[in-house]
């Protein structure tokens, strides 16, 4: 019985890593093959995020990402990341107001969690 479970662990983790490696290849291929030709990236159609209006609400918006993914400017990225973080904090505490559906969505998975983090997280860090 123990042997079996060890076998399962070996086989299981093996297959997990195998499958994940396959996905790595897949993603590398996709991101390579389907990348936008230079310049095209600016056209409203192909710019990721520009198609979905919800993006502005969702936790990690490719809209935001693509905003600086093309530039190497670290500081800008940092500033943005902070803005994002703050924005999320607000979202999480904005529940009482009649927020748009997607914000409520975040309120679910991310809202209360982010808040817990602020609370507990700090508690932990203080210790």
């Amino acid at each position: 019985m123990l042997m079996t479970s060890l076998w399962i662990t070996l086989a299981g983790m093996g297959i997990v890593f195998g499958t994940i490696l396959a996905l790595w290849g897949l993603m590398a291929a996709l991101a390579g093959l389907l990348a936008d030709k230079p310049g095209a990236a600016d056209s409203p159609e192909s710019a990721p995020g520009s198609r979905y209006g919800l993006e502005k609400h969702t936790p990690t918006g490719s809209a935001r990402r693509s905003a600086y993914s093309t530039s190497e400017d670290k500081a800008k990225a940092a500033a943005l990341a902070v803005a994002v973080a703050l924005a999320e904090q607000e979202t999480s505490t904005a529940r009482p107001l009649p927020v748009p559906p997607t914000a409520l969505v975040s309120a679910w998975q991310l809202g209360m969690r982010t808040r817990q983090m602020t609370q507990k997280g700090e508690r932990v860090n203080r210790s």
């Binding site: 997990v16 396959a22 993914s69 093309t70 975040s106 991310l110």
Partner: protein, 375 residues
């Protein structure tokens, strides 16, 4: 109809009430307290707690096959519809572009699943039969719908404790992970800054991704197809950008209704007889272990990647590979920032986090495949 007929009829509620019922009603109340006062996954723990109370009111008949809970159980759990509908909504809330921008991070999604198997071994050592041990292990997927989906197939009798463990600990991530992060990583490692110069992701890529994942994972792990495909369907509804009304339905009507009923029905399985035994205690303990093992494995693999990459990767993002989307990702970024406020690894952490979501689903399917093959 005289008083001697009436009296027992009047008091039947009390005469059938057992101490076990009382304890379980207390458990239900406690879950509701955690949901409201501590905001532990309230959308799930509140309905679960309420369902638990309902299941322990004698003669109410709601948990009978033709009672409301019985009807909903058949409609949504036996049919596996509820967890899959929830996944459509979850998929519509995930953004895979941080992962697509840094594909190698996907490896962290594999390491973060070790807790599943480590816990399975411990469960076997504690004397659980294989099907139950595997279901307990899947608490380590740290993904509610996956745990419920697998448990329903392998050991439905353990559905309640497994769901309760999965969702309670999910909310404790900010308490469970940071100590382990501090313990297993050096200050120097936690301060590693990561370049963020990903290739831009075209909308074409975002659209092809969920379809390709469905097919590839479906061929590699057929048992994972229902979960992964519904997750990817939701994501496709969102990134396609042409079916906003379906996207909104997935993120609201569908997931809300499925979540409410899933919670109620799972809670309604918490009868005293089924829940009040040592097994439940062991499961809660093993569940906690699963979370810890996932985190440890993730961090160690993160350290390995940090070493192999010559210090270019911050091992903290390894802890985000356990899934628990999106909290674990944000937590890793936060801990890094606590060391060095100028250090922003949010995008890397979210990449590892979404990888963990994929890894969890696949690991769940793989376990289902192997175990149902052996049992």
């Amino acid at each position: 109809m005289d008083i001697f007929v009436l009296l027992p009829e009047l008091l039947k509620g009390f005469t059938h009430f057992t101490p076990g019922n009382a304890v379980m009603i207390g458990v239900g109340a406690a879950l509701i307290y955690l949901a409201i006062a501590k905001e532990y996954e309230p959308v799930l723990l509140l309905p679960i707690g309420f369902g638990c109370i309902l299941a322990n009111i004698p003669l109410a008949g709601m948990t009978a096959a033709e009672g409301m809970m019985g009807v909903l159980y058949k409609a949504g759990i036996s049919s596996e519809l509820f967890p899959l509908l929830i996944f459509i909504g979850v998929g519509a809330m995930i953004d895979f572009s941080p992962l697509l921008a840094q594909p190698k991070l996907v490896l962290l999604g594999a390491a973060g699943q070790f807790g599943i198997f480590g816990t399975l071994i411990l469960a076997v050592l504690l004397g659980f039969p294989l099907n139950q041990a595997a279901s307990i292990g899947v608490i380590g997927a740290i993904d509610g719908p996956t745990s419920i989906f697998v448990a329903t197939k392998l050991a439905p009798e353990l559905l309640a404790p497994i769901a309760v463990a999965a969702y309670s600990y999910m909310s404790l991530i900010p308490i469970i992970q940071p100590p382990l992060m501090k313990l297993l990583t050096t200050k120097k490692e936690r301060m590693i800054r990561m370049e963020y110069a990903p290739r831009p992701i075209s909308q074409r890529t975002l659209v092809v991704f969920p379809i390709a994942i469905t097919v590839v994972v479906g061929l590699l792990v057929p048992e994972a197809t229902p979960l992964i495909s519904m997750l990817m369907l939701g994501n496709l509804l969102k990134v396609s950008g042409v079916v906003d009304r379906l996207n909104k339905a997935a993120q609201n009507e569908i997931i809300n209704i499925a979540t409410l009923f899933l919670g109620l029905v799972v809670g309604a399985t918490m009868t005293a007889s089924a829940f009040l035994n040592w097994g439940t205690g062991k499961i809660m303990l093993l569940g906690l272990l699963a979370f810890a093992l996932d985190t440890v494995a993730g961090l160690l693999f993160g350290k390995l990647m940090a070493f192999l990459s010559g210090g270019k990767i911050n091992p903290l993002i390894g802890a985000a590979g356990i899934s628990a989307f999106p909290m674990a990702g944000r937590l890793a970024a936060r801990v890094a920032q606590d060391e060095d406020f100028e250090n922003f690894i949010l995008m890397h952490a979210m990449g590892a986090n979404t990888a963990g979501q994929l890894g969890s689903v696949m690991a769940g399917g793989i376990l289902l495949a192997i175990v149902s093959h052996l049992v």
